[in-house]
């Protein structure tokens, strides 16, 4: 239910964002009555032909125009275009304003200036006191307000992108654009968009075109001059990857000079029809770094008499847009890099979309949001399913541990929050300002800028817009708060007895109801002898002295829990079904004033904790122990309230410390997985034997204590070359071997045929009795070794024994031949 609500809210949010934008994109709607016929010629076959302003015969505009002509033909031939070759954007905009062209490709800065001129005319017409004549021109391409009189420019779509390239002949570098006046420079053909762009760029640098030592001639001549060394700089507005530029850059003749930040910012401020961009690294051969510059789009414009529109033009625009999509998808025209856009291609986009384009934009926006909604919905469904599966498999934490209070002390939460804030602010600020702010032109720039903000270094000069500044300030405040939380959480952790950020809860050892004298147990488990060091999880009571807790806290791989071992819910976090062993200890003496936990009650809690854990961890458990089993099969237990009696829990081998007052029979209900250890009785046996035989004490202590200077007992699997051999061969082989010390083979620990040692039919009395049957000490010399048998032997340490066993094949061959000599490995 909660997820459904979230989903609905998400969709509403998406629609809430999508609708206003779509509505804003819609152009002013013309009433049907206002529509009139557009001027167009007609081909002999009756197909309307529209006049189309392209560029020079070999220019990029002409290539685009020809491709679109192909597209029109391929998409139904509903209209045709009559391509007219011009000098470029200036001629095209004039053609449109004079109604000599129906469509034209124009650089957007030129188009926006012309649109501005038309607005200036309207303003001047309404201002009777204005002395300025409409013929006065200051706009690009000398467009006057009068030229723009009575013409409405409409944007069909932005088609391609061009970047301003500042090419300088090597080894010249321009740190300041004022230096441009000192060198011969080519800024394009008069009347072209490239020339107009260059004019405003040098203007942003504080120069006029007249101050430049301009190279007169065509583009090809300019490149030749650059190669000859008679031309030292060029300003070209063309698509990144231009072949001619690639040629001179690749030949090492010239390189691409970055536009200085000051020029960039002044340009964007004065002419917001550009956007900040960069020529990416490796766009040209040898250009190993990104070069900041400005980009401008080439757009397709149409013009209609003021206040008028026509169905014929609508149909033409629709056909052209269809042709545009065809060109975009046609591999043959991929080199044009055509990618139609409705907006977000300049810092400001004053020209309204043609109404057909606006409709298509609305359609695309809706389609985009619908696609996003479907993806989000699918993602939510996947996450919900994963969460459900994870819960069923017990991979998620117990809900009792996942509350907010529990997470407040986790330093990973504020850290994750900090990262999220920085990433979110990075994306938002970049989205808002990457077109206009040279300091955040890439996500990388924005990321480092936001890192500065979020760590408290707010700088209002770094960002331009109020929205971005607000986001930056929010990132600063939130970041400082999260850092304070992070610091507090870490301090809290360091103030505890123990700092343990990561816990391993698989094949671990759980010790419940730990008491002080069992420090010896921890020391032995962390002794150098055993090859494998399992993680230890210790549940202690509050009465355990602090000095002992601090001692425990220093043990590697040991985690301390302050919990009640008799409460199953408290044990859930220990993942007991995945444990290799569980040890249940008696409480300390009664006079310590603390609670007294009984091993039987703790055993019940262990059983309940395993019952509550997901049963699907598998009957075999996650990993079979080194002795072939670690988890007991389902226990046949009576149904408890809330339990599924049909499925029993998986329980690890558990050792419970019992006292003389507790007869072994009290543990009978748990006998399939629990081994009671009568500590006092065993101690008395030990004392009785050692009192008459001090040698026993020495041998026993030596055998059980993992010390460097003595041998202990270990078991290792016997490799396959021993399978089928007699125990005599094994014995003879191993006695001959020597590493750090020798090996004394004591016997075999047989594998069980059953999956589990405690499988109900196989088990007669108790696990202890069953395990005992598998140990064969001093076996008959002709006993045959079986796969799965483990060797029980005295050795210096486990690694030493493993090393000797793995290199015993050749020694065994000698033993089979009756040779007995010492083999050192």
């Amino acid at each position: 239910m909660r997820h459904a609500l979230l989903l609905v809210l998400s969709l509403l949010g998406l629609l809430g964002v999508a609708w206003p934008r779509a509505l804003a994109a819609a152009p002013p709607t013309e009433s049907p009555e206002a529509e009139s016929e557009a001027e167009s010629e007609t081909a002999p076959d009756g197909v309307p032909v529209f006049r189309w302003g392209a560029g020079s015969k070999k220019g990029n505009f002409t290539k685009i125009s020809l491709a679109l002509a192909d597209g029109l033909e391929a998409t139904g031939d509903d209209m045709r275009i009559s391509i007219e070759h011009t000098n470029g954007s200036c001629d095209n905009i004039h053609g449109l304003l004079r109604r000599e062209l129906d469509f034209a490709l124009v650089q957007y800065d030129v188009a926006a200036e012309a649109f501005k001129a038309s607005r200036a005319f309207e303003q001047a017409a309404s201002d009777e006191d204005d002395d300025e004549s409409p013929e006065t021109t200051g706009f690009m391409c000398s467009v006057t307000a009068k030229d723009a009189q009575g013409v409405e420019l409409r944007l069909v779509a932005a088609l391609t992108d061009s970047a301003v390239h500042v090419l300088v002949r090597r080894p010249l570098r321009l740190d300041s654009f004022v230096d441009l006046s000192r060198y011969p420079v080519y800024i394009g053909n008069v009347g072209s968009g490239s020339f107009e762009s260059a004019k405003v760029i040098v203007g942003a640098a504080g120069l006029t075109v007249d101050e430049l030592e301009r190279f007169d001639g065509g583009g090809n001549e300019a490149y030749k001059a650059l190669r000859d060394g008679t031309l030292l700089a060029m300003l070209r507005t063309t698509e990144p990857g231009d072949t001619q530029i690639a040629s001179v850059v690749g030949a090492g003749v010239a390189t691409v000079n970055p536009l200085p930040d000051a020029v960039l910012n002044r340009l964007i401020d004065g002419y917001p029809y550009y956007r900040v961009c960069q020529i990416e690294a490796n766009t040209y051969p040898g250009l190993d770094y990104a070069v900041p510059t400005v980009c401008v789009s080439s757009v397709l414009l149409t013009a209609l008499p003021a206040g008028e529109d026509s169905a014929e033009l609508d149909a033409a625009v629709a056909s052209v847009l269809e042709a545009v999509r065809w060109v975009e998808n046609e591999p043959e025209h991929a080199e044009l890099g055509m990618n139609h856009r409705w907006r977000d291609f300049a810092e400001q986009e004053p020209i309204a979309l043609h109404r057909v384009s606006a409709e298509q934009e609305l359609h695309e926006v809706r389609e985009g949001w619908l696609r996003t909604a479907i993806i989000v919905l699918a993602l939510i469904l996947v996450l919900v399913t994963l969460r459900y599966v994870a819960r069923r498999r017990g991979l998620l934490k117990d809900p009792l541990e996942s509350n907010l209070e529990g997470q407040l002390s986790n330093p990973l939460i504020p850290f994750a929050g900090f990262v999220t804030i920085v990433l979110l602010a990075t994306f938002l600020v970049w989205s808002i300002e990457h077109d206009s702010n040279a300091r955040v032109r890439t996500l990388n720039d924005s990321f480092w800028e936001m890192n500065m903000f979020a760590t408290g270094n707010f700088d209002s000069e770094s960002l331009k817009t109020s929205t971005a500044r607000f986001i930056g300030a929010t990132a600063t405040i939130t970041g400082l708060g999260l850092l304070a939380w992070f610091t507090a959480a870490l301090t809290n952790i360091f103030a505890r007895d123990q700092t343990r950020l990561f816990r391993r809860l698989r094949n671990h050892i759980v010790i419940l109801n730990f008491r002080e004298d069992m420090l010896q147990l921890i020391r032995m488990l962390r002794s150098p002898g055993p090859l494998r060091s399992r993680p230890i999880h210790v549940v202690v009571s509050d009465t355990l002295p602090r000095r002992v807790r601090l001692q425990l806290a220093r043990v590697k791989g040991l985690t301390i829990y302050h919990q009640n071992p008799e409460v199953p819910e408290d044990l859930a976090g220990l993942r007991i079904p995945r444990a290799a062993r569980v040890i249940v200890l008696q409480s300390a003496t009664a006079d310590d004033g603390g609670p007294r936990y009984h091993p039987l009650r703790i055993a019940r809690a262990v059983h309940q904790a395993c019952s509550k854990y997901d049963h699907r961890t598998g009957v075999q458990g996650p990993e079979l122990g080194k002795t072939g089993f670690s988890v007991a099969p389902p226990l046949q237990h009576p149904a408890l309230a809330g339990d599924d009696a049909g499925r029993g829990p998986s329980l690890p081998v558990t050792l419970a410390e019992a006292t003389d007052q507790d007869p072994e029979e009290i543990f009978d209900p748990f006998r399939r997985w629990l081994i009671p250890i009568q500590g006092r009785e065993l101690a008395e046996r030990w004392m009785a034997t050692a009192s008459v035989d001090p040698g026993f004490a020495e041998i026993f202590n030596g055998a059980v204590s993992f010390r460097d200077e003595n041998s202990e007992v270990y078991t290792v699997p016997l490799p396959e070359w021993f399978h089928g051999q007699s125990w005599r061969i094994v014995r003879r082989t191993l006695y001959c071997m020597e590493a750090r010390a020798g090996v004394v083979p004591l016997g075999l620990y047989r594998s069980s045929d059953a999956l589990h040692a405690y499988e109900a039919p196989a088990m007669g009395s108790s696990p202890q009795g069953e395990l005992q049957k598998r140990l064969l000490v001093n076996p008959a010399l002709d006993l045959e070794i079986r796969p799965g048998d483990r060797l029980v032997a005295f050795a210096e340490d486990e690694a030493d024994l493993v090393r000797m066993i793995t290199r015993s094949k050749r020694v065994m061959a000698d033993a089979q031949r009756g040779h007995a000599s010492v083999h050192r490995v």
Partner: protein
């Protein structure tokens, strides 16, 4: 086990437990079992194998043991508390218990003492005085604090036992390897025993490898496993016990060994 080679003596050699209370009746049973399993002859007058000493009144102990099957296994002697000094205790040990002739002495922690291990140390001193000038028997002391073990040096104590260590060792081996746990458990339960047997005369100049390959069965033709050597003490130690060398390595010469330690099933 190592005493298997010792000559059995016809005289009464009880095993003495000091600071005993009826709560430690299990120890008496364990001692009686050990006494039965060794080759020592019973005393002619059928004396109980264990003598228990404690500060509790005899009448209280008698009442506690009234219905116990272990009653016949022990003789209880009420001894003065250490508060009265060690001389009083030493006197009882010498006269009533004849502790110098005891086979072994076990000193349990005194429950009523402020510092049980210190009280045990004084008890050991009293045993020494009671035995003088004869050597002290084999003394085993159970301590509550393992750090107190060194305090018994020079008192003739053969073994200091800390029960926490035994529990820890068992549990640790159960955690590491259940097969090893079974072996240790069996050793403790008396299922397996380590026996000392002489080095075969033909192998006197040989190595441990030769002995290990040569000694495969005992006198009853049951398989045995040589696990080490018993060596003479290089330096006279306080307790005078010979050194045991487990897993000496195949090249170790047995020339100087007093015997071979073999693992047998009981």
């Amino acid at each position: 086990m190592l005493v298997a080679l010792a000559e059995a003596e016809p005289r009464y050699q009880p095993m003495v437990v000091i600071n005993w209370t009826p709560a430690a009746l299990g120890l008496v049973r364990a001692l009686a079992k050990v006494a039965r399993s060794t080759s020592q002859a019973q005393a002619p007058d059928d004396q109980p194998p264990v003598v228990c000493l404690g500060t509790q009144p005899s009448a209280v102990v008698e009442r506690a043991l009234q219905d116990s099957s272990a009653r016949a296994l022990l003789r209880y002697v009420e001894v003065p508390s250490l508060v009265e000094g060690i001389e009083a205790l030493a006197s009882v040990l010498a006269d009533e218990v004849r502790i110098a002739e005891a086979r072994s002495v076990i000193v349990l922690p005194a429950d009523d003492a402020e510092e049980p291990d210190a009280a045990s140390r004084l008890t050991c001193a009293a045993v020494g005085r009671a035995c003088a000038p004869k050597p002290v028997p084999n003394i085993l002391v159970e301590v509550e604090d393992p750090e107190a073990a060194y305090e018994f040096a020079g008192l003739g104590v053969a073994t200091v036992f800390y029960p926490g260590y035994l529990r820890a060792a068992l549990l640790a081996h159960a955690c590491v390897d259940l097969g090893v746990f079974q072996f240790v458990y069996g050793l403790l339960r008396g299922r397996y025993r380590v026996r000392l047997q002489p080095v075969p005369a033909t192998l006197r100049e040989a190595t441990f490898l030769d002995v290990a390959l040569g000694v495969e069965h005992d006198e009853h033709d049951r398989p045995v496993t040589p696990i080490g050597l018993q060596l003479p003490p290089e330096q006279p130690s306080a307790d005078g016990h010979p050194a045991l060398l487990i897993n000496p390595g195949p090249r170790r010469s047995v020339r100087d060994a007093l015997g071979v330690l073999v693992l047998v099933e009981a």
